[in-house]
Amino acid sequence: MNVELRNIHKHFGNVYANKGINLNVPSGTIQGILGENGAGKSTLMKILSGFIQADPGGEIILDGTPTVIQSPADAIHVGIGMLHQDPLDFPPMRVLDNFLLGQSGGLFPNRNAVAQDFKRLAGQFDFSLDPDNYVDALTVGERQQLEIIRLLWLGARVLILDEPTTGISASQKAKLFDTLKKLAGQGMTIIFVSHKLEDVENLCHRVAVLRAGELVGETQTPYVTANLVEMMFGKEITLGERQPAKAGEIVLALKDVSLEDVRLRIKNVNLEVRSGEVIGLAGMEGSGQDLFIRSCAGLVRPVGGRILLKGRDLTGKSYHPFKREGVNFLPAARLEEGLVPGLTLTDHFILAEEPRGLFIDHAAGQKLADERIKSFNIRGAPLTPVESLSGGNQQRAELALLQSPLSLVLLEHPTRGLDIESVIYIWGKLKERCGQGASIIFISSDLEEILQYSDRVLVFFNGEVSDPMDASKTSVEQLGQLIGGKGWAGKGEADV
C-alpha cells in the first residue's frame, strides 16, 4: 500500500511535535525514520496509526485515497498496524488469547480455526511460538514476533515498527530483518523507526530524518553515515566558555559494577568521580544511562561489583543510606517522583529539613520558604501547591530542596522542557554546588548541554558504556556517532 503524509502538523500546547511533514512511502519499501529523542518520530507514527490526530489541514493518503484515521481500530481496519516499543500485549494471558484479542465480532471465537491460522503464519516466518504459552514467559523478541503475526492476521498491509531492535538478541534481530525484507518483497510497506544508524543502514531502502519536529532530509541507500549524523543532530554548535573542574578527592568509585533490568545488561563499569567534577551521560533514552544513574543512588541494586562513596562501601544499600552520605537524586518526572502534588512549597521545605521536635514551627517554615523562593528565584508563593508551578519553577524548587552539605547530585534531564533562561540559571546553581565540593552526574539528551557543562562524558548504547571522554576534546558529531552505535571500536554491539 502506498502511504502518503501531507502537511502533517501536531502541536501540544505551544510546542510543535510535527511541523509540516510531507512523506511518501511507496508499496514494497522499507522506509527508515531516523531522529533523536523528541524529534517527532513517535508523534508522526502515532498519527499514522490513529493513537492521536494531526492538527487540521494535514492529510493521510492511502493508495491515492484521503483517509481519516481516528483510532488504532480504524488504522488496522484500513490496513495499518503498529508495533510499539513496549509491546501492547497482555502478559498474564496465553499467546493464542492475545492473538485473538484484536479480532472483532463473535462472542465465541473459533479457537481451533484461529489456532490453525496462527500456526500457518508462525510457520511462514519460522517463528517458534507456542500458542499455549503465557505471554509473560516470552522474551521481548518473541513478543514482537507474536505482535507481527497478529497484525498480519488482522490484515495489516503497512507495518510500523517503533525502535524494534532494542532489547532483542542478535539472532532475533537477524530473523526480524529477514521477516521484514520478506514482507516488503510481498508488497507490504514497512516503516522502521529507529535511532540506531547501523540498523537503518542495513535494513532500509530509504531514510527520512526528523529533527525538532521537521523533516530535514531524505536519502537512499547507500548511506553516508556522517551525513545522517549531521542531519540528526544539526551542525552549528557554539560552545560557550567552559569551566574545567579542579580535580579533588574521589567522591564516587564504581568497581566492576554490573547492572541488569528486563531489557539491558550493563557489564563491569569502572569509574571514579572526583569532588567538583561533572559527568554527563549521553545516549538515546533507554540505553542504560537511567539504570546507571539510579544505581549510583542506591535505587537500583547492582548485580555485581562494588560502589564506594568517599571510600565507604555502600554496595547493596538503599537510597536513604546514600542520602545520609550526601547523595541526592533528582528524577526527570518531577511531579511523579520528585515533588508531592497537593503539598505547598513550604511543606516541601519543611519536609526536607531535619525535624526539630514534634510540632512544626510554621512561622519558621514560612521564613525558610521565603528565603528559598527568593534565593532560587522561584515564581510562586510559599503556599502555592507545587503542581501549579511551571516546569522551570518546579525544577528550581527541586534544586532548592537539595540538602547541605552535599557530596553527589544525580540528575535526570535537569533542564528538559525549560526555557534558556531557566537552563542557565539552574546550571549556575549547580556549578555553585560544584564549587562547594559536590560532584554531579547528569543525564541529558541535549548533546550541547552535555558538552557545555560536563568535564567528562560517558556514552551509553544498548547497555554498552564508553570509556570516559574529555568533554573539551569531543565534538557533537563524535557523540552523535557513538549514540547511534557507530565507532564502538573493540566494544561491538552487545548481544543481549
Partner: protein, 345 residues
C-alpha cells in the same frame, strides 16, 4: 480563596439536597410521606434528652473510628479493616477485664488497663493488615476485609467457646461485668461523659497530629506521593505502618468503649458496623478533621432516629443506611463533577 470555598460549599449543599431528593423518591414509591419520615427521624434522635444521649452513645465509637481513619487516609491507605480493628479492641478489652476481674485491683485502674488493652488489640489487628500490605504485597482493602471476617468469627468462637456463659452459651454474649467496672454514666442516661471525653480527645489529637506535626506532614507526603516522599528521605513503609497503628489504636478504643461504656460484655455484633460507617464519614468530610464532629453527630443521629421508623411508620430502620450511603455517593459525585468542571475552565 473565599470564592473557592463558597463554590465548594454550594456543591456540598447541592449534594445534600440531591441525596434527600433521591431518598424522598424512594419513600414516595413505597407510599410513605418523606416529610413524616424525616420528622420522625429528627424527633427520634434529638426529640428528648434521653434520645440525644442515645445519639451520643453512637457518636462516641463513630468519632473514634473516623479519627483513626483520618490517619490512614492521610497516608493514602484504605483501611477497610477498621471494622475488625474495632472488634479486636472489644475482644482485647474483654480479655483484660476477665484477667483482672478477681484481682482485687481498684476498678478505676482495671478500666484504664482494659481501655489501653483495647487500643493495643486494635493496633495489633491493624498492624497485621499493615504487614500484609508492606511485606506481603496484599492490598490493604483485601487484607482488611479478610481480617474483618476473621475478627467476627473470633468473637463468635469466644462467646460460644472459652468465654461462654455458665450453662448455655447464647447470642446475648458473655457474662456482664459488675457495674463498678463500667465507665460511669450520667444518671438515668446511657451516655458516659468519660467515653464522650475520650472520643473528643481522640479527634483533637488527630487534628493536631495532622495539622501541626512533622509526623502528620510526613504521613501526608507518603500518602500523596510515595516515590517522592522516599526520595525526600522519609522512611515510607515505616510511616505506612505508623498510620495503621494509629488508626488501629483509635478503632480499638472505639471497641473498648462499646464494652466498657455500653454493653459491659462482649456481644456478637459488638462493632455495630461503626467501622464501615466511619469510612463513610471520613469520605464525606474529605479527610478534614474539623468536620468530623458535626458529620459524625449527624450520622449517629440518623442511625438512632431511624430506630423509631418501624414502630411509627412501618418502614425499615435501614432507611438511615440508605440515606447515609446515597449522601456519600452524591458528595463524591459532586466532587468529581466539580473537578471535571474546573479542569475545563
Amino acid at each position: 480563596m473565599f470564592k473557592k470555598q463558597l463554590i465548594s460549599l454550594l456543591y456540598q449543599i447541592g449534594a445534600l439536597l440531591l441525596a434527600f431528593g433521591v431518598v424522598s423518591l424512594i419513600l414516595l414509591s413505597v407510599g410513605a410521606s418523606p416529610w413524616d419520615a424525616y420528622r420522625n427521624m429528627f424527633t427520634g434522635s434529638f426529640g428528648s434528652m434521653r434520645k440525644f444521649a442515645e445519639v451520643l452513645v453512637a457518636f462516641v465509637p463513630l468519632l473514634l473510628v473516623t479519627a483513626g481513619l483520618l490517619a490512614t487516609f492521610s497516608s493514602g491507605l484504605w483501611n477497610i479493616g477498621v471494622e475488625g480493628q474495632v472488634v479486636l479492641g472489644a475482644i482485647a478489652t474483654t480479655w483484660v477485664y476477665r484477667f483482672f476481674l478477681d484481682s482485687g485491683l481498684p476498678p478505676a485502674l482495671i478500666i484504664t488497663l482494659a481501655i489501653l488493652g483495647g487500643m493495643v488489640g486494635g493496633a495489633i489487628w491493624a498492624a497485621l493488615a499493615g504487614v500484609l500490605k508492606v511485606f506481603g504485597g496484599v492490598n490493604e482493602i483485601f487484607g482488611g476485609l479478610g481480617l474483618n471476617f476473621v475478627a467476627t468469627a473470633l468473637t463468635i468462637y469466644l462467646i460460644f467457646g472459652p468465654w461462654k456463659r455458665p450453662g448455655v452459651a447464647s447470642m446475648s454474649g458473655t457474662v456482664p461485668f459488675p457495674d463498678e467496672f463500667s465507665l460511669p454514666q450520667l444518671a438515668a442516661l446511657r451516655i458516659s461523659p468519660w467515653a464522650l471525653g475520650i472520643s473528643l480527645v481522640g479527634i483533637v489529637v488527630i487534628y493536631f497530629l495532622l495539622q501541626g506535626t512533622y509526623f502528620g506532614l510526613r504521613l501526608k507526603a507518603v500518602g500523596k506521593n510515595f516515590r517522592a516522599a522516599y526520595l525526600l528521605g522519609i522512611p515510607t513503609w515505616q510511616y505506612s505502618m505508623y498510620s495503621f497503628l494509629v488508626c488501629g489504636a483509635l478503632a480499638g478504643a472505639a471497641g473498648a468503649m462499646q464494652v466498657a461504656a455500653v454493653y459491659h460484655r462482649l456481644i456478637p455484633s459488638i462493632s455495630s458496623g461503626y467501622g464501615y460507617l466511619g469510612l463513610m464519614v471520613a469520605m464525606l468530610i474529605n479527610y478534614r478533621a474539623v468536620w468530623a464532629v458535626p458529620v459524625a453527630l449527624f450520622f449517629a443521629g440518623l442511625n438512632i432516629g431511624s430506630i423509631q421508623l418501624p414502630i411509627l411508620m412501618k418502614l425499615d430502620s435501614s432507611l438511615s443506611g440508605v440515606l447515609q450511603g446515597v449522601l456519600v455517593l452524591f458528595v463524591l459525585l459532586a466532587a468529581g463533577v466539580r473537578q471535571k468542571f474546573s479542569k475545563k475552565a
